[in-house]
């Protein structure tokens, strides 16, 4: 499993990029969900989000999950392309698979990559 060191992570398996404000679902999460067939982003650009607010809903062939905001702030952009190609979340979770970008963000209590990898290993 892959967790880039430039990103920060939540216990609910979201990643947050402090440099860009982008948010997505981790590699660990996508592999456990397996084939993702539906993504719905629940917030719109301009909306203010709090840490822990549900920002997206994801369904795979066998499971469903909510994605929560890892940081507070204003939604600057949502990845509209993802709804058409939900499998991107499986193929490129840290790249094309981003979900939203938050501006003026105030991150919640996040883990670095090493801590997150340990956290995932504990759960397996």
């Amino acid at each position: 499993m892959n967790a880039p060191s430039r990103l920060k992570y939540t216990k609910t398996d979201e990643w947050y990029d402090p440099a860009t404000g982008k948010v997505g679902l981790t590699d660990y999460a996508q592999s456990h969900l397996s084939d993702i067939v539906f993504v719905e982003i629940l917030v719109e650009a301009g909306e203010t989000v709090e840490v822990g607010k549900a920002i997206a809903s994801v369904e795979s062939v066998k499971a469903s999950a909510e994605v929560y905001a890892p940081a507070a702030g204003v939604v600057a952009e949502v990845n509209k392309a993802i709804a058409e190609k939900p499998e991107t979340l499986n193929q490129d979770p840290y790249g094309q698979g981003w979900l939203i970008r938050i501006e003026n963000s105030l991150p919640g209590d996040l883990m670095d990559a090493d801590a997150y990898i340990r956290y995932c290993e504990e759960r397996d």
Partner: protein, 451 residues
């Protein structure tokens, strides 16, 4: 007991394997003071006695096959069911199977549902059908659940035509009790003669769904195209509650631009059975499929390269999505959906149209002669299908009591739900009614007026 195939010797051997002495030892976790209550039930009947007992109960009823001539519809209709329908339904392979969770050994049920979905899409002019709801009323309520989910709870108003079936509107009110919705359009003062476009006055930017019926509860046919356009202009969805037999000849709700089409599938090969089980069909546009409740079958291939079918998008449903699911529905009306699919396939393109036209011609003959009886007249001048409102010289309850003495089950008394329509009788005529029956109805109705 007849259906427990375990002999006393086998029972002893099994108890020994388990490691207990008696059957009662298996129930030690049950609080002793409540254990083994004495149930006050009638003594058990043998199969022969049960068959006789049920026959006795059934014979206390007067049926619309032999005892009574029926002009009663209002949501359930007396149609002919070809013999082949029940012969298929009686196959144990269909009726004693469960939900097709294991597709390798459930392809019969899965392909049958897939075909049912296709038939419903063809009939309603829509793109996607689920595997069915409990009945027309609950399907209408589920339309609200879906539209609510489409807007993610941000819109809070539902506009309902007052000429949607009263029981459907009642069920909708029960279903939506905890959703904090505003329901508008069908209050008691609504003008029942207004064209459906009057509903647009109620539709606003907070409206998630408008619901109309086609033909409406009074039997009237309206083209809802304009209403739907205007609703879409406000961003709202529109659900049409449709009669499936009428759809054999009428413009489809799909052609009118409807977002959801629901209805009671009972006319499609399902006996009236005192109100159930029947079938609630539900079709919609493909864009909403992820928000639709209920089971859904999709085509795929198996690992041998064979075309096959599976339950798909199951992560929408309650067993995975739990409290975040659009609905709690688990079962569909499997066997009733099968009945309607068999009915539609054997009726086919020409047969269903014939049924619809027979209903249409007979209902129009009835309307023609009944409206000529002094004191009677058609309440509305709009086109109708197989049901129409007859304005009578006396309260309908009084007239129906008289009809019943002559072996006729009169039409539905609209004053039960619409106090402003005191002497209005809703008369249904299907292919099952003969000209003689209609003439007899006219004769007795004329008599009533002279009394």
């Amino acid at each position: 007991m007849t259906y427990i195939p375990i002999s006393p010797n086998e029972r002893e051997a099994m108890l020994k394997t388990i490691g207990v002495q008696t059957l009662d030892d298996l129930f030690q976790d049950v609080p002793e003071k409540y254990r083994f209550p004495k149930l006050d039930l009638p003594p058990a009947l043998t199969e022969m006695e049960a068959a006789q007992y049920l026959q006795e109960l059934a014979s206390l009823n007067e049926t619309v096959h032999g005892d009574l001539i029926s002009f009663l519809g209002a949501g359930m209709y007396n149609h002919y069911i070809p013999a082949v329908v029940d012969h298929i339904l009686r196959r144990g392979e269909f009726y004693t199977a469960y939900t097709p969770y294991q597709p390798e050994i459930s392809q019969g049920t899965l392909q049958a549902i897939f075909e049912y979905q296709s038939l419903m899409c063809a009939l309603t002019g829509m793109e996607v059908s689920n595997a069915s709801h409990y009945d027309g009323a609950t399907a209408a309520a589920e339309a609200i659940n879906m539209a609510y989910a489409v807007f993610r709870g941000k819109r809070k108003k539902v506009v309902i035509s007052p000429t949607v079936h009263p029981q459907y509107r009642a069920v909708i009110r029960t279903y939506t009790q905890g959703m904090e919705l505003e329901l508008a359009g069908d209050d008691a003062r609504a003008d029942l003669e207004a064209a459906p476009e009057f509903l647009t006055n109620h539709i606003d930017a907070n409206t998630l769904l408008a619901i109309v019926q086609y033909p409406d509860f009074f039997g009237r046919i309206y083209d809802y195209t304009k209403l739907i356009e205007e609703a879409h202009g406000k961003g709202a969805l529109v659900c049409v509650v449709a009669n499936p037999i009428a759809l054999a000849i009428l413009k489809t709700p799909g052609e009118m631009g409807a977002d959801i089409v629901v209805g009671e599938g009972q006319p499609l090969g399902i006996p009236m059975w005192f109100g159930g089980p029947s079938l609630g069909f539900f079709t919609t546009r493909k864009t909403y499929v992820h928000k639709m409740a209920g089971r859904l079958v999709g085509e795929t291939v198996d690992n041998r390269g064979q075309r096959a079918y599976v339950l798909t998008l199951t992560a929408r449903e309650q067993h995975i999505k739990r409290e975040r699911a659009t609905s709690n529905i688990c079962t569909n009306q499997g066997l009733m959906a099968l009945a309607s699919a068999v009915y539609l396939s054997v009726m086919g393109r020409a047969g269903l149209r014939q049924v619809a036209e027979l209903c249409y011609h007979k209902a129009h003959y009835a309307a023609e002669i009944l409206s000529q009886i002094p004191g009677y007249g058609l309440c509305f001048s709009d086109p109708f299908f197989h049901e129409f409102s007859l304005c009578c010289p006396k309260p309908v309850a009084e007239i129906n009591a008289h009809l019943l003495e002559h072996g006729i089950l009169g039409g539905y008394d609209l004053s039960q739900d619409y106090p402003s329509l005191p002497n209005h009788m809703l008369i249904a005529v299907t292919e099952m009614n003969t000209k003689e029956e209609i003439d007899l109805l006219a004769e007795i109705l004329a008599e009533v007026n002279h009394d």
